[in-house]
């Protein structure tokens, strides 16, 4: 490969990031997202590129710190919060009273970006909404995250944004999981949520995207703006042809388990050590796969002779059985090797036979590849101890993203922020603290 991989490694290895410049250096982000994970994601992404992020929690700490699967918390903070609290400074501030609101306005005056999951109406009422803040700071980019978005017939819904609601409205669970068979259907034959907080996560990613697009516009014009992101719509976007198919064919997708309505084979198959992904859906790739499994005659079988024939449900089921006849005797690694041995001699569409073991998280962690590429970071934090975290995924040659810190206690940076940034005296900070404003 003429040494490109070695060159790319030298240029982008995250291990060499320290000392390189950061893409968003000098950008200040104020995050006010109590109880909300999507807002944390949006701010983390900007922070990984070098933005200075100040997380404003209610005095006593963000309710999201109490999210603790299996009750596991470290120093009062659960694992979801710790997984996404990176690269921040931590302030506390109550927006319930005028004094806290005035302090927030002063923070916003010096900020480039506000990230909030608070209701737009509540922020407006408190005098800290986009309209009020942008009078004093016309370059301000105001990101509002919510379930339905801030305008439209459902914008006033009383529902409190959460991952499960974003997922439900996105249309994702509708097309994930096993169809109903028999009556009554079994509990697992239901629209199925993605196991991680993918609704909240994509909401945050789209928020970061919107902020960066707005930043480009501000660089050209000096103008800030309001960026409105609905978490339901963020994940909805990934269900791609829902609308075009409805519009052109009047059809919509249903749940069909691990099958796929548009491409096949494109499925998980049983193997000796679990499951593995198997895809070979264009004609040339399908021919390759039939050769690999020792059934070259099936490439000419009229049942399987075109992409359209292969996506008929009865054909998908027949092919699934044929593939598993072969795969059940092999491990996922043996399957990968068999495919690579065959496809390494090919190029173009015939090489598009694609696999990959369905890893349990510990299996992913055991693979040296990810560690070599710096995907995980084991970080020792003075308060929260040793934590294993996902590192920023991008490898960039000039301005690598990076993980710089894990988390701090609520208000840990109050003095630095309120004295250093806003110029309050130590006595004023003590007084605010005594009165519960911070």
């Amino acid at each position: 490969m003429s040494g490109f991989d070695a060159w790319a490694k030298a240029a982008t290895d995250p291990g060499t990031a320290a000392g390189k410049p950061e893409a968003l250096a000098g950008l200040r982000v104020i995050e006010i997202c109590p109880g909300h994970f999507g807002g944390m994601v949006a701010s983390s992404i900007l922070g990984e590129f070098g933005a200075e992020v100040i997380k404003v929690e209610p005095p006593g700490g963000d309710p999201a710190r109490r999210y603790a699967p299996e009750g596991i918390a470290i120093e009062g903070t659960g694992l979801p919060f710790l997984s996404e609290a990176r690269n921040r400074r931590f302030a506390t501030l109550s927006l319930d009273e005028g004094e806290g609101r005035e302090i927030f306005r002063r923070l916003a005056r010096g900020a480039d970006v506000i990230v909030t999951s608070e209701r737009v109406a509540r922020m407006d009422e408190a005098g800290v909404g986009h309209a009020a803040l942008s009078v004093e700071n016309p370059g301000l980019i105001f990101l509002a995250l919510s379930l339905y978005g801030s305008f439209g017939p459902c914008a006033d819904s009383s529902a409190m944004d959460s991952d499960i609601l974003c997922q439900a409205l996105s249309g994702a669970p509708h097309i994930i999981g096993e169809p109903e068979e028999g009556s009554p259907p079994l509990p697992h034959q239901a629209p199925t949520r993605l196991g991680n907080w993918h609704g909240w996560f994509t909401q945050g990613l789209w928020g970061a995207f919107g902020v960066l697009a707005a930043l480009r516009f501000r660089a050209e014009t000096g103008k800030g703006q309001f960026v409105d992101v609905s978490g339901a719509e963020g994940l909805m976007k990934f269900a791609d042809y829902n609308i075009t198919w409805m519009h052109t064919a009047g059809k919509s997708r249903r749940r069909i388990g691990n099958f796929d309505p548009a491409v096949f084979p494109y499925t998980y198959i049983k193997c000796r050590d679990g499951h593995t992904f198997m895809a070979a859906y264009n004609d040339e790739a399908f021919d390759s796969l039939m050769t690999i499994i020792g059934r070259p005659e099936l490439a000419g079988d009229p049942r399987f002779s075109s992409p359209a024939a292969r996506v008929r449900m009865e054909t998908e089921k027949a092919l699934q059985a044929i593939l598993e006849d072969w795969s059940q005797h092999l491990t996922a690694d043996e399957i990968l090797r068999a495919i690579e041995e065959h496809t390494s001699k090919k190029s173009g569409p015939g090489a598009a036979v694609v696999t990959g073991r369905v890893n349990r998280p510990l299996e992913t962690l055991a693979e040296a590849n990810w560690r070599e590429r710096g995907c995980f970071a084991s970080v020792d934090d003075p308060v929260y101890g040793n934590l294993l975290l996902a590192a920023p995924p991008w490898k960039m040659s000039f301005t690598p993203a990076r993980l710089k810190s894990v988390c701090k206690r609520p208000g840990a940076d109050n003095r630095e922020i309120y004295c250093g940034l806003l110029g309050l005296s130590a006595a004023e900070v003590d007084s605010l603290s005594a009165r519960g404003v911070i």
């Binding site: 994970f37 699967p69 997984s83 719509e233 919509s252 369905v358 962690l365």
Partner: protein, 407 residues
């Protein structure tokens, strides 16, 4: 209104989803995207058609990935094709590709070669396993490779049942969004410094980044996070429940919402709930089973917890809220006529995204780009056509324009 990314030119050499979605997201906000395909067949995504269905000779699954793009067809495997491609890249701000790692470099049109001609180029190399490292060499990847190897599928689905693959290509789209975000960050620093860079993004690694508390949990306990079915294990009993006429998501994020939910359950069962009593998923399931979606939404509003219906594509298509927001976008395309699609996700007040036109046949914009942008003469273009360096669509569904009677 103006567009946020006006003046940014993106050249795309990519197939299927990961690369095309990345530049689609940039194109929605005003970037000028030049999509380079091989002559005749073009992007193989053109032949990914749900249930084998083509509309006006185009797959509805291809449309939603390729809006606002200029389609040119260049055989980049030929020396003249490489040169033509490099000349467009010279005039571009961003390049997006998703070929197997190292392929572009082998072809002489990779980052190392192109940066010599355009040091400001931001080069997004999208791949399954990255541009370097043990898994990078020659290994192909699709969406579900990333779903599988990242651990996402293993934590999706029900206990006692196999891992579940999402029924849509979430491993491509999620990674494409990561890629588009990094391109915007790189554009920001280029504005200050003039320098471009290589961005290596693996779709598996993007998915790993999204698995929230999976990793610290594994680190602390040495255990795999179990599949939790439709219950959110962080905020129980939040989850998806069967109701009388479908499915509904119930959510209780804090103590107040949990109290509201408990109140609704107790009122229904006629027994006063004791404050210490926990909320169980079984209670919620029983409550929901006998009620319609509408009744559940009213109960949520009345008692102070949250709920939303579990909806699908047809519901989206008919939803006035989504149409009012342009999330379901009503497009009048010059070639295809009226076609509705999902619109831009973030709504920007001053420089909003928009869909201007949908995907086009292979090589549809050749003249515009070769004569216009590159300033080639008609004779030069004809010569390139004669040498099969550039070309247009194959006479086949997926590649060609609508036939006359359908226009």
């Amino acid at each position: 209104k103006p567009e946020a990314l006006e003046g940014i030119r993106v050249i795309e050499l990519a197939t299927r989803i990961f690369g095309p979605a990345t530049s689609d997201y940039l194109g929605e906000f005003g970037a000028e995207v030049i999509k380079v395909e091989l002559p005749l067949r073009g992007d193989l995504m053109r032949y990914v058609a749900p249930e084998g269905f083509y509309w006006k000779e185009v797959s509805p699954a291809f449309l939603s990935l390729n809006r606002n793009k200029h389609h040119v067809a260049i055989d980049v495997r030929l020396p003249d094709g490489k040169e033509l491609f490099a000349r467009i890249a010279e005039k571009s701000d961003v390049l997006v590709e998703n070929l197997r790692a190292g392929t572009m470099d082998e072809w002489g049109i990779g980052y190392r070669q192109l940066r010599e001609r355009n040091p400001g180029l931001i080069y997004a190399a999208n791949s399954g396993f990255g541009q370097w490292g043990p898994y990078s060499r020659g290994r192909a990847s699709y969406d579900a490779t990333a779903q599988a190897v990242s651990g996402m599928s293993a934590i999706t689905g029900f206990p006692g049942h196999p891992p579940v693959k999402a029924g849509f290509w979430v491993g491509d789209y999620t990674a494409a969004l990561f890629s588009a975000i990094s391109i915007l960050a790189a554009l920001e620093v280029r504005r200050r410094t003039g320098e471009g860079q290589l961005i290596d993004i693996s779709q598996a690694e993007a998915m790993i980044r999204t698995l929230d508390w999976t990793w610290p949990y594994a680190g602390l306990t040495g255990k795999d996070r179990p599949r939790a079915g439709n219950l959110d294990p962080v905020l129980p009993p939040s989850g998806i429940y069967r109701c009388a006429d479908g499915f509904v998501a119930i959510s209780a994020r804090d103590a107040e919402e949990r109290a509201g939910l408990l109140e609704a359950l107790s009122a229904a069962s006629g027994s006063a709930a004791s404050a210490g009593e926990g909320l169980s998923a079984d209670q919620v399931a029983a409550f929901s089973a006998s009620r319609t979606q509408a009744e559940m939404l009213r109960a949520a509003e009345g008692s102070g917890f949250s709920a939303a219906p579990v909806v699908g594509g047809e519901d989206h298509y008919r939803d006035p809220h989504l149409r009012a927001r342009g999330t379901v976008w009503e497009l009048d395309d010059p070639l295809y006529g009226r076609i509705d699609e999902y619109g831009p996700v973030p709504k920007l007040s001053e420089s909003p995204g928009r869909i201007k036109w949908t995907a086009k046949p292979v090589g549809y914009h050749n003249e515009k780009v070769f004569n216009g942008l590159l300033g080639l003469s008609r004779e030069e273009v004809q010569e390139l056509e004669r040498k099969k360096v550039i070309g247009k669509w194959a006479d086949a569904p997926g590649a060609r324009p609508p036939v006359e009677k359908e226009r």
